[in-house]
């Protein structure tokens, strides 16, 4: 496995790219650093959604796991005073993956729009609870204290930035490894033909369950990192349905082409929103929604396919 990994071009690109990002991050303007940090954090959730999408499934409710991750960080901070990034991530990923594991028993039977909608229903149940329960902060949510790394409280955001870059790189490499295994190659196989997979002797439900738990864990990590980067959790920006919509939006915008695409997509989305907000504070949704439509129409395989086309053209002409 390690041998094949060494040869894997994508893994090399991930390591190089994220390393470069981690280094240059220190010299970035704070807001650029912030946007990249938010974008990468969101990219982790998108990565999980991309694995599901390759399997032929789209979830309209992954804000559920995103929110569980974020609230897990908030709650262990508020109730147990845990500020360490590793502990926070363990709690967040553990909680979201566990819920994903439980709900997976139900969801693995569903496909298409039913899968999308049942996820939405579950995420809205959590939203309904969070909004109404005062001890969980209701509509306001609550703030999250600064993150420490193994007892060290960094003075500026760069440490967290670097940590997020590393976490995302690890996530990307792991998912890439997974996709390269036989189990991972079942993603396309299941999307293409479930019946055949069953008759080859593999339980489609179980394969989907594995992917679902994985996507839940990734979304949990994503929400946790974003909560730490923002220092705030609340139901409307973490759990409500437009958050799920946004995640799917980024997934489609990025395209299923590569495990790097979700991070690219996340960062592009963050900048798109920032500029839309600045350009037209009264009509920023118009720009975001218009972009989404444009992508679905003209780039159905996402931004990544555009990059691939450019690279290919270069390869041919030179």
């Amino acid at each position: 496995m390690i041998e094949t990994l060494k040869k894997d071009k994508t893994v090399r690109w991930i390591i190089l790219g994220f390393l470069a990002l981690a280094i240059t991050g220190n010299f970035m303007e704070a807001w650029v650093q912030n946007n990249i940090m938010f974008g990468l954090a969101r990219g982790l959730a998108v990565l999980g959604l991309m694995v599901l999408w390759r399997t032929g499934l789209i979830s309209f409710g992954h804000a559920l796991y995103f929110g569980i991750g974020a609230y897990a960080v908030g709650l262990v901070d508020r109730n147990l005073g845990i500020s360490d990034i590793f502990l926070r991530l363990i709690f967040a990923v553990g909680a979201s993956a566990f819920v994903g594991f439980l709900l997976g028993f139900i969801l693995r039977k569903y496909r298409g729009i039913f899968f999308a909608m049942l996820n939405l229903a579950f995420s809205m149940v959590l939203y309904g609870i969070l909004v109404k329960v005062e001890s969980l902060g209701s509509t306001d949510g609550f703030s999250v204290s600064q993150t420490t790394i193994l007892g060290w409280a960094p003075e500026n955001k760069y440490a967290l930035f670097a940590a997020i870059v590393i976490a995302c790189a690890i996530g990307a490499v792991l998912v890439q490894c997974y996709l390269k295994t036989a189990l991972g190659s079942l993603t396309t196989a299941i999307r293409d033909n479930e019946l055949r997979v069953e008759y080859l002797g593999f339980s489609v439900a179980r394969a989907i369950h594995v992917k679902y738990v994985m996507s839940a864990g990734l979304a949990g990590a994503s929400g946790a990192l974003l909560a730490m980067a923002l220092g705030q959790v609340d139901p409307d920006s973490m759990v409500n349905w437009p958050v799920s919509g946004e995640l799917v939006f980024i997934t489609v915008m990025a395209g299923p082409g590569s495990v790097i695409a979700p991070f690219l997509g996340g960062v592009v989305f963050e900048f798109l929103r920032t500029y839309a907000f600045e350009l037209a504070p009264e009509a920023w949704q118009l720009i975001v929604g218009g972009t989404l439509l444009g992508i679905i129409f003209f780039l159905p395989m996402g931004l990544w396919s555009l990059l691939e086309r450019i690279w290919k053209r270069r390869g041919v002409s030179s």
């Binding site: 496995m1 094949t4 390269k180 295994t181 036989a182 189990l183 190659s185 079942l186 396309t188 196989a189 999307r191 293409d192 033909n193 019946l195 055949r196 997979v197 069953e198 008759y199 080859l200 002797g201 593999f202 339980s203």
Partner: protein, 264 residues
């Protein structure tokens, strides 16, 4: 033939909201036997295949495989015990190449956790894939995406994928449907040749009486959910009930017989 039969079906019934799609089916098949299943559309052939491979649960009756009861088994468990099938409409991974299709199938067929965590391009799998592609004569198409294959080649791929786990019993649902007349015999030659090498018991659903006559040891004729004839092909194809309900009239009979004779 004193040992237990490879497949033993006893009093198998299946009804869909009162309509009997399978009525008291009793079949035995020995190791290495090749059996043709014939019948008009809606006679219950595919229902029979679907029940044996676990796609449909029978209403009553039992299915035994090498003496083990496999009634109502999940499709994937049917595969595990060694009962595999192909499909009337080829069920392959349309966006993958021929090679990827077979590699995916092979890595699943290995049935152990370690294999699933390996790359599907592991050396042993590549060798096995090469062998299958050669055996089924699809090696020239190895890098072609399945959706662009001709019907015949796709059928071959479909069958090749069905045999990756070396099944003891293979059920082929209309292996030549949708295939051009010129290709038919070529395909069946390849398939039967390959399967004989494996020593598998084969049951295949077929409309073309020429093919039935040429390749099978025994014929099961279906009509309205019942088996109306179970005999060697020469006998079965002359059975008046089979002629009336399956082959349909003198014309068909004559064509079938003369065609069959011509090839024989």
């Amino acid at each position: 033939m004193t040992e237990v039969p490879a497949l033993k079906v006893t009093d198998l019934c299946k009804s869909f909201s009162g309509i009997m799609a399978a009525n008291n089916l009793n079949v035995e098949a020995a190791d290495g036997e090749i059996i043709g299943i014939i019948g008009a559309n809606g006679a219950g052939k595919t229902v029979f295949v679907n029940m044996i491979t676990g796609y449909l649960k029978p209403t009553s009756g039992t299915i035994e495989f090498q003496g083990k009861d496999i009634t109502g088994i999940e499709p994937r468990n049917a595969t595990h015990v060694g009962v595999c099938r192909s499909f009337q409409v080829s069920q392959v991974f349309m966006t993958m190449t021929v090679e990827e299709n077979l590699l995916t199938a092979l890595s699943i067929a290995k049935q152990d956790g370690r294999a699933m965590l390996q790359s599907p391009r592991a050396p042993d799998l590549l060798i096995e894939c090469e062998r299958l592609m050669t055996l089924y004569k699809i090696v020239d198409h190895r890098n072609q995406v399945a959706s662009t294959l001709s019907q015949g080649v796709r059928k071959l791929l479909d069958i090749a994928m069905a045999v990756v786990s070396n099944p003891k019993i293979l059920l082929l649902d209309e292996p030549t449907s949708g295939v051009s007349v010129e290709e038919k015999f070529g395909i069946m030659d390849i398939v039967i040749q390959a399967l004989k090498e494996q020593g598998a018991t084969v049951l295949f659903v077929e409309h073309d009486m020429e093919i039935v006559e040429r390749y099978v040891d025994r014929v099961l004729a279906f009509y309205q959910g019942e088996i109306i004839c179970d005999a060697p092909p020469i006998e079965a194809l002359r059975d008046p009930k089979v002629i009336e309900y399956v082959i349909g009239g003198d014309h068909a009979l004559n064509t079938a017989l003369s065609g069959g004779a011509g090839h024989a």
